[in-house]
Symmetry: C2
Subunit: 344 residues, 2 copies
């Protein structure tokens, strides 16, 4: 077993211990999803900024070709993703990894599968420029293009007190909107809040398998993607995991997960080979296909693969069904989003 | 002047005459936009059918690649079009004509620029199959793909009393949703209803130019796209116009409108060369670029071109500004549309 996973399991045991300690009843490895993720001091929420961000989300003029919107690959009707293994970027090429859901994206502490952004704002700004994403050109080109849309002036003034458009303010507004993409009140949240009938018996059995087998040693806290803010035991600046943990697993031969070395491609550090950010499991039943390469189309197979490649465990068919039932309890309520109207 | 245009002007004079006749005060060449377009007997509206249609509108699984939604080229945030001269179809090729707005699409009597569909349902069903549109495959393939999404069963039952999915029921649901895309209460509508202050003086001058110069001989009735249902003087089964009416106009050399022979490509009939469906002017300020080939990017230039190529008239700069101001009065209120959640 790798030292990373050992560290992770120690961390989880600590959390479990804290969660049963009467003096620290507020500690638990799981928490109901708050209404709002952490808000950075340098980008506080405001209704005007959120509205601007939503408008930009639907605006193809952010993209280099004028054809691609955020909504295209992070379809708010479709798990805030696109159901594809790889997405088609604005430059017509395929992305190198599968578009993750943006629901609850504000609860991460690092962004992208490889953690190449340390803030949501940075993630958005990079993605606006990346050619196989929005392909927006340089920061200057993007700013010039959006500045030329006179109808945006008033919205930027309302959001930022100035109609100066730049890639930072665009990213800030989009990030503010993204932080509203929170799916509260799943059955699991109601269960955590004390309604023990919120999970079916099958789901409760699945939850037990999930915890006892070790799934929860990485998938915990509010979005079942770790980590607990303010606690130590983080690996690097974010929350990464080896995947596959056992590259000799048959599923890696089948699905070729380890063809992508994850965070290593960012840092060049041998120790970062096959490290990926732990993804949220919230709404996982609505965000197929699975894994960084989107190679697995069903949730049941994804659970089987995780058990085999991460924990060297073979779940029985009944266990797989139980865990899948539990994962279905993580589907929350989607907040109402009205389609904006773009300025001219 | 072609006989088609002569016929059209006779028709318009008849309407004008009717509109001033005291015994027929209800006749006017212009009418406020009703809340709902005509509903066909074989596809009555229902909340369940409209909801299903909206869901399908955001579902990329209708498309052959699984990547394209109706929303992609008919972006409900962006004039129900995409702001491009030509759209990229699901097969990666460009469309041959510019995506028209779908706002108020239910008020047409023929569909597509070349009128190749006589009902909205037919237009939708064809577009689902056309390779440079949704590229959905055969009717059987489309049906099989959507039938395989078990979560749709309940929605189809609620809409049609049966969970049988086929290309007709898909097109019916989508059409029912499209018939809700009505933008009432523009300044012009309030003006027509008797509020003479609803148009600015500039807009009223532009309206006079619009009527007196002959723009209104084709652009009239509820959606300023003709024709008046139940009245004669229709050309063929729809409402077409020669464009350009004067192919020797300098603007045709510049913008190459007549490179596309319009309805002729459907019928092969010489008399149909350069015939195009008259497009709505509702929300025209929000649906650039203009014309079947999207060759003109500004509304002012579009008005200048129309005057030159259709009426052989040179508007003064002041007249152009006035007509553009009037056309801005045709922007209505967009109905609220909440983003649906797709079934699995």
């Amino acid at each position: 077993m790798s030292s990373l996973v050992s560290t992770r399991i120690l961390y989880f045991i600590l959390l479990l211990a804290l969660s049963v300690a009467p003096v620290a009843a507020q500690f638990s490895p799981f928490r109901p999803l708050p209404a709002q993720p952490p808000i950075p001091d340098d980008n506080v929420q405001s209704p005007a900024k959120i509205a601007l961000g939503k408008t930009l989300y639907f605006d193809p003029r952010l993209s280099g070709s004028g054809r691609t919107t955020c909504q295209q690959c992070h379809n708010l009707a479709y798990g805030a993703a696109d159901g594809m293994a790889y997405s088609t970027g604005d430059d017509g090429t395929l992305t190198k990894r599968s578009a993750p859901t943006l629901w609850n994206v504000g609860f991460y502490t690092i962004w992208f599968w490889d953690g190449r952004a340390a803030t949501l704002e940075d993630a958005v700004e990079r993605h606006l420029m990346e050619t196989n994403a929005m392909n927006g050109g340089s920061a200057e080109e993007l700013s010039r293009r959006i500045s030329a849309i006179s109808g945006y002036g008033e919205q930027f003034r309302a959001a930022f007190g100035s109609d100066a458009v730049n890639s930072q303010s665009i990213a800030q507004a989009l990030s503010s909107f993204l932080r509203t993409l929170v799916t509260q009140d799943s059955a699991f949240d109601r269960f955590l809040r004390g309604d023990k009938t919120a999970l079916t018996e099958t789901q409760q059995r699945g939850f037990e398998v999930f915890v006892d087998s070790g799934c929860a040693s990485c998938h915990f806290w509010v979005s079942l993607a770790g980590p607990v803010p303010g606690l130590a035991f983080q690996i690097g600046e974010g929350f990464y995991e080896l995947f596959p943990n056992y590259p000799d697993a048959p599923s890696d031969r089948k699905y070729k997960f380890s063809a992508d070395l994850g965070r290593f491609h960012v840092t060049g550090d041998e120790a970062d080979k096959r490290l990926f950010r732990v993804p949220t499991l919230r709404n996982v039943a609505h965000t197929a296909p699975y894994f960084h390469n989107g190679a697995v189309t069903t949730l049941k197979e994804a659970v089987r693969v995780m058990a085999e490649a991460q924990l060297r465990v073979d779940f029985s068919d009944a266990q797989l069904d139980d865990v899948v039932a539990f994962l279905n309890s993580l589907s929350g309520q989607y907040p109402p989003i009205s389609v904006p109207q773009l300025p001219q």
